[in-house]
Symmetry: C2
Subunit: 320 residues, 2 copies
């Protein structure tokens, strides 16, 4: 039989749809109870807005409108909400709190099983700097996962500046840094080590660069850390110390956490659950994105993949 | 200031979004209470499926996937649900009842104010012939509008075969018929009259063809009708006689009702409200569409434009 739907897309039948609706209702309810107002932005947006935020090529699907403008399908909701804030809330004092439940569109490349159409539920907190804004985002994240009925999850927390700053301090040239970070963002540790071996670093520096992305653990990881990581570690410590205990107990520090989206600037996080082999959601600080839309303000947000969250909740229930 | 979003699209801010959610929750609740299970199909679909149902060119946005397949953005949910039924429910006995709340995508042409992205809530009833299936669809439609809080609406009811059959019986050639129907589908009565004037018809035939599309009224319209309209009028009478009184009192027969979507085969309907200048929703029978997807069965459905419905409800409240 020929494929029913394009690869990376699928039909949702009533039994599953009822569960997905219940899940998004609960998640959205948590967001709204925390003061986040739901917004919707068009699935079709100007390519210029998409590019302004993330550089050319972030969007995978390009079309023309009747006037020759290039339109793209949104690849996430963070950039459209940044544009929305810049155009519709330019005079409204922050912090601003928005949430959404919406589909985004990605290319699936040659990877089987990657989703072309992704249903996301998330929040954006605009005008709330670190550490307070980050603490609030992590708290809303855990409250939403709790409301979804997920019990065994952990939140990996890292910092987007940690590894790039370390590479810079050890004298690695800019173009080598971006190649190493690209390998690291897809979890290719072998590629990272291979690249490092060609740099002629002092053995102890090379060893530090190899070991740091593998460092995972509790808050003890932040004590006794190499002084060249002290800035990022200090920022993580500030967030951790301000977390409510129910959130702090979910946190695992992960120094290998790097996102390949250009706009992240500080603390990053990712949601894991043993019931499923890939992250259920992710987020972080993007303190420079809003300036692209005329409102320079710090911001933080996250997105949950609703279908993976549903699979994880079902998996936990099945595995008991 | 440059446009914020592509023409025919818009941002929805929290106050409105809350009302739209409440409206879709109520509408969906009505559909589910009547036995319709919600489904979701991908926004990106194969062009071949779109074309199989409605002929080339129905979809306005074309893209390629990684393997060279042509993908399009869905232009409605009726065709994808027909495909879904053919692929996922091929062995399930009917009638099948599905509902949806989803966006569809249209080209806006040169018409300002036309929507490129349309949020629709609707149902499809597969395997239920006329008149019973049509009666059920009209009843669910009115129940949903009542649940939405709309009070002053009327449902225009016509038949897709009425005017084409009359043209044929009066000897109008096939290619002229399709041109006349195209004018009629956009309400261009002047164009219809102009085209008819060139056909050399007997004066009484020309007069009949000019007067029929303007015929609107209650069930008295079906009595004493020209015998060449008797088939369609008989079908409308059967539906009308089986409607619950709360539905029958909303009906206005409209012999000018023609849809430019190729798949409609029988009774058609459209929702009007004085608070708004365009139809809030529409539907009808499509008894031949399912055969395109390997399951020849009669079917009927409708879609409400959620944002127009919201505007109409708000307009009625304002006008009191």
């Amino acid at each position: 039989m020929s494929e029913r739907t394009p690869s990376g897309t699928r039909d949702v039948l009533p039994d599953e749809m009822r569960e997905l609706r219940a899940l998004t209702d609960r998640t959205r309810g948590t967001f709204e109870a925390a003061g986040y107002g739901e917004v919707y932005t068009p699935a079709l947006e100007f390519e210029r807005d998409s590019n302004a935020a993330t550089g050319p090529g972030a969007a995978s699907y390009r079309m023309f409108d009747e006037r020759g403008n290039v339109l793209v399908l949104r690849s996430d909701m963070t950039v459209p909400i940044a544009r929305l804030v810049g155009t519709r809330y330019s005079a409204t004092p922050g912090p601003l709190r928005f949430c959404y439940v919406a589909h985004s569109y990605r290319s699936v490349g040659s990877h089987r099983g990657h989703a072309r159409e992704v249903l996301q539920a998330g929040v954006e907190l605009i005008g709330a700097p670190a550490p307070e804004g980050t603490v609030e985002a992590l708290t809303v994240l855990c409250d939403a996962l709790d409301a979804a009925g997920l019990t065994g999850y952990r939140v990996g927390v890292g910092d987007a500046t940690l590894y790039p700053v370390l590479l810079e301090r050890l004298g690695v040239a800019a173009e080598r840094r971006s190649e190493i970070l690209r390998d690291l963002s897809v979890g290719d540790f072998v590629g990272v080590e291979s690249q490092l071996s060609w740099l002629g670093l002092a053995p102890e520096d090379a060893e530090l660069l190899i070991s740091v992305p593998r460092m995972r653990g509790g808050p003890e990881l932040l004590a006794g850390i190499d002084p060249r990581l002290a800035d990022a570690a200090g920022g993580l410590r500030q967030v951790y110390d301000a977390l409510p205990p129910r959130v702090a107990e979910r946190v695992i520090f992960d120094f290998g956490l790097v996102r390949n989206l250009g706009y992240y600037t500080g603390v990053l996080f990712q949601v894991y659950d043993d019931a499923i082999g890939e992250p259920i959601g992710s987020g972080g600080r993007y303190d420079e994105l809003l300036a692209q839309f005329g409102r320079p303000e710090p911001a933080v947000g996250f997105a949950l993949n609703v279908e993976l969250l549903h699979t994880a909740v079902a998996g936990e229930e099945r595995d008991g």
